[in-house]
């Protein structure tokens, strides 16, 4: 794969009208609105340029791209000059050459002449342009005033800023504005004094910079450069793969030097990210080679024994013998497996196959259980498919954007940037969130309505919005009556019309002023294309599924579904949440969302796998814990997931893990769950394996192996070895063969293959005979289930109530720089932005408790107690406190309870009644946690010594 993409200089025009012109005697036809520079590039004529790049709007400052146009005056800049019918352009002649050389002379007269030792040597546009214009001398000398001694800023852990090399082309400033939307950079001063300035002349770390890398990507010189390139030199080849972090699923070029990744560069042709990235995907990949990686299998009899390093053969045989022993002793249903959304589709597929075919039961679940399982349930019930309805690009056609319980700029930053771009173009914004997330107010963005509701009242809010839409006659009856079940629609209208669902009646529940709810509902229903984006703030509640149903009801009632710019869009937390669900990782359904009791489906899998399959659903994650504690569940194979940290009611989870006889963890690191394990099987990072991830827009993207697995095997190979040892043969030679099997068995995947992904780059399912190139927008002409179905969504308050003993509501969330349990990002420099989980508390609540910013505070719930430092902020409302869960020692889940969504058992992470008090020492749980961790690390160390 070539390292450098073709740069057309300016963005493409999407006009359908064509214009024909002549450039250097060649005829060219391009869409109206195309720049002369881009038109020339499209026929292979490269006009010299410095300030132009095709990810940014033209700026016309460098004066290098001047051209001569027949009949025109002067020498216009080709980047800012649009094509015109019959135009005749000359890009090269003596006059132009002289002007360009003169411009380059001025640039070079204030630029260090250290090309041979410069980090951009070989990848510098200034160097290229000097060559292109034939610069042979600089007449001005270097004695005059210059910027050569400007001080470097190395404060950012991932890139350096060397202003002595800056040509003030403004590409970085514009990238920060146009691509990222943060507006952290500016050009300070005028004329010769002009300089790039982060925020108010601060260094990068102290500025508002979010380290997305867009400025580094845009810089044509070595001014902004990755420290990894400064240290290691220019990469020599690249491989396109897919990011292993959030549900956006950005495409990246892994730029390599031999088998070493030098940098990850966002792929300009990536269909989800279009060349943009965030601080995690762009920079936080160093965990893959972190010293904490365990690359040798280990076993032990008891969790208080030292680990014994063993061969793969011994580890696999030991695991198989233990699972056979347990099943012989406790029955077929006493073992099960868990996968993670960090696993590829192929890995999750073979794990569920192992469970169903080799274990002989359906005890398989995945971490989507604790995040988006209500999405699967709610959308299946109403629309007929457990998936989001749109592409990410669809947001660019939305007129009204409603964000409910999601924080895209932190959780899904690249999509958040796209959303902000649309908002800056004028789309209206409704935010429903208990906190002041960044979207509520940030540079050039302001929510039209912020519905700052109380945690746990989503259903009441959604019902109130529906009430206004129906009772004020704003529903799209024509759509709903034609596309949906009429009886269900009429029943729903009667239900939401009841006065008890009105904004006035629910105001005391939600805390949102009735008039604000009414205005938001009117905007959603009448503002044009209206799209809903939601996240875990919707799903992780006791009524998570009900809210998802309510959201689908809103979209159907207003006709906001089935075309671009609208839809129901779940923002999936991790990269492969959608895919792991698609692959049959839930205990009640086979791949493709078909219930295990369905005879025809089961027969199909039985025939393909040559084994009789169980027709009853298996245990879900929380049920596995319950069964472990009552003695009926004894063996767990856990791939890539860290239930000991991520699942609620930590004490309960830890007790369940201790109660099992064989816990097998397959992971990169000795994570929290592995401390309770009897077998450790080393996992492979996303850089070490082949497969696919499916992002939040149903987009299947290739994961390509760029380096050899450190422990010798890709994860699916380990599962295959275990299956073979258990007596159920699997003989895949490559991950592509697993996808081929999936395509044979899953109707929505019949057109998917690695070959197709190589050809198209990515594809959105359904991809089959009816849609060979995939399906960007779902439910276009009819819903997957035929007619859309409205369901009634009665508001039922959570049982987790505040009392005088627990007067505050704790809600949890995530932060930009860290990812999920933090196992990856904590092992990168991302921790400089967030090195501990803190408790956000409103000044009023803090003052009442005598808490100052930075104080240690105890947070006590009905489930347990932990201690964090306090951050006093008005981002949270009085009565609500907030924390993240990226660090195990924080024990955020020590205080969350076992309450869960009624339909799916998705935990109610977002509502826990707590008390907060000032303390001066860690909690008892934290003390015990540290003791246990010290013991486990010592046992690991002993293993290292034993293995030599």
């Amino acid at each position: 794969m070539a390292l450098h993409d073709c740069d057309y200089g300016t963005p493409a025009s999407d006009s359908s009208k064509k214009v024909t012109l002549e450039i250097d005697g060649f005829s060219v036809t391009v869409p109206e609105g195309t720049s002369v520079m881009r038109a020339a590039a499209s026929i292979g004529i490269q006009i010299p340029k410095l300030c132009a790049t095709d990810s940014l709007e033209p700026f016309g400052s460098c004066r290098l791209c001047l051209v001569q146009i027949e009949g025109g005056r002067g020498l216009p800049a080709s980047c800012t000059t649009p094509v015109a019918e019959g135009m005749k352009v000359c890009t090269q002649n003596e006059r132009l050459a002289n002007v360009r050389r003169g411009v380059m002379e001025l640039y070079i007269s204030d630029h260090p002449l250290d090309c041979l030792t410069c980090s951009a040597n070989g990848d510098c546009e200034l160097q290229d342009m000097a060559g292109a214009v034939g610069l042979r001398e600089v007449r001005y000398g270097y004695e005059g005033e210059n910027h050569l001694k400007a001080e470097k800023d190395t404060s950012n852990p991932y890139f350096a800023f060397d202003p002595s090399k800056c040509i003030v082309c403004s590409r970085c400033v514009r990238a920060c504005e146009e691509v990222q939307g943060t507006f952290a950079l500016t050009l300070d001063g005028r004329g010769f004094d002009s300089k790039v300035s982060p925020s108010q002349n601060q260094n990068f770390m102290d500025s508002e910079c979010v380290s997305c890398g867009a400025c580094v990507q845009a810089c044509p010189t070595a001014t902004l450069m990755e420290k990894s390139v400064i240290e290691k030199g220019q990469p020599e080849h690249s491989i396109i793969t897919t990011c292993a972090y959030c549900g956006v699923g950005c495409s990246f070029k892994a730029e390599m030097k031999g088998a070493e990744v030098v940098r990850m560069v966002p792929n300009k042709d990536g269909h989800a990210n279009h060349g943009h990235s965030c601080v995690k995907g762009r920079f936080a990949f160093g965990y893959a080679i972190h010293k904490d990686r365990i690359t040798t299998p280990m076993i032990r009899k008891s969790i208080h024994d030292p680990w014994r390093a063993v061969s793969w053969e011994e580890a696999i045989n030991y695991t198989a013998s233990e699972f056979k022993r347990i099943q012989a002793q406790y029955g077929r249903y006493s073992v099960g497996a868990l996968t993670s959304s960090r696993c590829t589709n192929e890995e999750t597929y073979v794990v569920q196959k192992l469970v169903r075919a080799a274990f002989g039961n359906n005890n398989v679940d995945t971490c989507a259980r604790v995040c988006h399982s209500p999405t699967g349930y709610g959308l299946k019930q109403t629309l007929g498919e457990s998936a989001g309805t749109q592409t990410f690009d669809s947001v660019m056609k939305a007129d009204v954007i409603m964000v409910i319980g999601a924080n895209p700029t932190d959780g899904h930053p690249v999509f958040g940037s796209m959303m902000k771009r649309r908002l800056r173009q004028g789309a209206k914004l409704i935010v429903a969130d208990p906190r002041d997330i960044d979207l509520v107010k940030s540079p050039h963005i302001k929510a039209d309505y912020h519905l700052k509701l109380r945690p746990g009242t989503n259903v009441a809010l959604v019902n109130a919005l529906a009430h206004v839409i129906v009772t004020e006659g704003l529903a799209n009856d024509a759509f709903a009556l034609e596309r949906c079940e009429v009886a269900s629609y009429e029943k729903w209208k009667a239900f939401v019309s009841q006065n008890r669902n009105s904004p006035e009646a629910t105001e005391s529940i939600t805390g949102v002023p009735a008039e604000t709810m009414r205005a938001a509902a009117r905007l959603y229903a009448t503002g044009g294309n209206a799209a809903i984006y939601y996240g875990l703030g919707v799903t992780e509640h006791s009524q998570g599924s009900t809210t998802v149903i309510g959201i689908a009801n809103l979209a159907m009632a207003t006709g906001n579904i089935g075309r671009e710019g609208v839809g129901v869009n779940p923002l999936r937390g991790q990269n492969n949440v959608q895919g792991s669900c698609d692959m049959g990782s839930f205990p009640h359904e086979f791949p493709g969302y078909r219930h295990v009791s369905d005879f025809e489906t089961r027969s199909q899998f039985e025939s393909a796998w040559g084994v009789t399959l169980e027709s009853e659903p298996g245990l879900r994650i929380p049920n596995m814990f319950g069964a472990a504690l009552d003695g009926s569940f004894k063996g767990l194979y856990c791939e890539g997931e860290d239930i000991a940290q991520s699942d609620p009611d930590t004490q309960h989870v830890h007790a369940a893990l201790r109660a099992m006889e064989c816990v097998v963890v397959q992971d990169l690191f000795l994570n929290e769950t592995a401390k309770f394990a009897h077998v450790f099987l080393p996992g492979a990072s996303f850089l070490e394996k082949s497969g696919t991830f499916t992002n939040a827009e149903r987009r299947i993207s290739p994961v390509r192996r760029v380096m050899t697995p450190l422990a010798g095997y890709e994860d699916w190979e380990v599962t295959q070895m275990l299956s073979n040892a258990l007596g159920f043969p699997m003989n895949y030679k490559h991950a592509s063969e697993i996808m081929d099997e999936i395509a044979r068995l899953v109707p929505t995947f019949t057109g998917v293959s690695f070959k197709k992904l190589d050809e198209l780059g990515s594809v959105q399912w359904p991809c089959n005979e009816e849609a060979p190139d995939g399906t960007p927008t779902m439910h276009k002409h009819q819903f997957v289930r035929g007619k859309g179905r409205f369901l009634l969504t009665e508001y039922v308050p959570t049982q987790e109530r505040t009392t005088s003993r627990f007067p505050l509501i704790l809600t949890t969330g995530r932060i930009l720089s860290q990812y999920n349990v933090g196992a990856q990002t904590r092992r990168t420099m991302n921790s400089v932005w967030h090195s501990e989980d803190r408790l956000e508390i409103h000044p009023h609540d803090a003052e009442q408790r005598g808490i100052n910013d930075g104080d240690w505070v105890g947070i006590t719930s009905r489930a347990g107690e932990t201690v964090l430092r306090a951050t006093i902020t008005e981002r949270v409302q009085p009565g609500v406190v907030y924390t993240t869960f990226h660090f195990p020692e924080s024990g955020a889940n020590v205080i969350t309870t076992d309450n869960s969504d009624w339909a799916t058992n998705c935990p109610e992470y977002k509502v826990t009644a707590v008390q907060v008090t000032k303390v001066n020492k860690p909690s008892e749980w934290q003390r015990q946690y540290q003791e246990f961790t010290d013991e486990q690390l010592a046992l690991l160390k002993k293993r290292t010594a034993a293995a030599g």
Partner: protein, 79 residues
């Protein structure tokens, strides 16, 4: 498995389906059959047979129906 927790889960399911009283009991039965592991179903049925403390009216009717269906399957040799 904690029976109190299963009772709470059953009542939560009933709360959703009770929005449509005519189909509420069947809704709860279908949901539990579709999503609950058999050992969970056995536990809640046993609890029902022992008096079903804590189950609300719809839950009680649903688990009763589930028990009768399971019993008839068992007597037909499919249970």
């Amino acid at each position: 498995m904690d029976i109190e927790h299963l009772v709470r889960m059953t009542n939560d399911i009933a709360s959703f389906f009770s929005a449509e009283p005519a189909t509420a009991v069947q809704g709860v039965v279908d949901h539990i059959k579709k999503f609950w592991d058999p050992r969970m179903r056995r536990l809640i049925i046993n609890h029902y047979l022992e008096g079903g403390a804590g189950l609300n009216d719809i839950s009680r009717a649903a688990i009763g129906q589930l028990e009768r269906e399971t019993a008839s399957l068992r007597s037909a040799g499919d249970g």
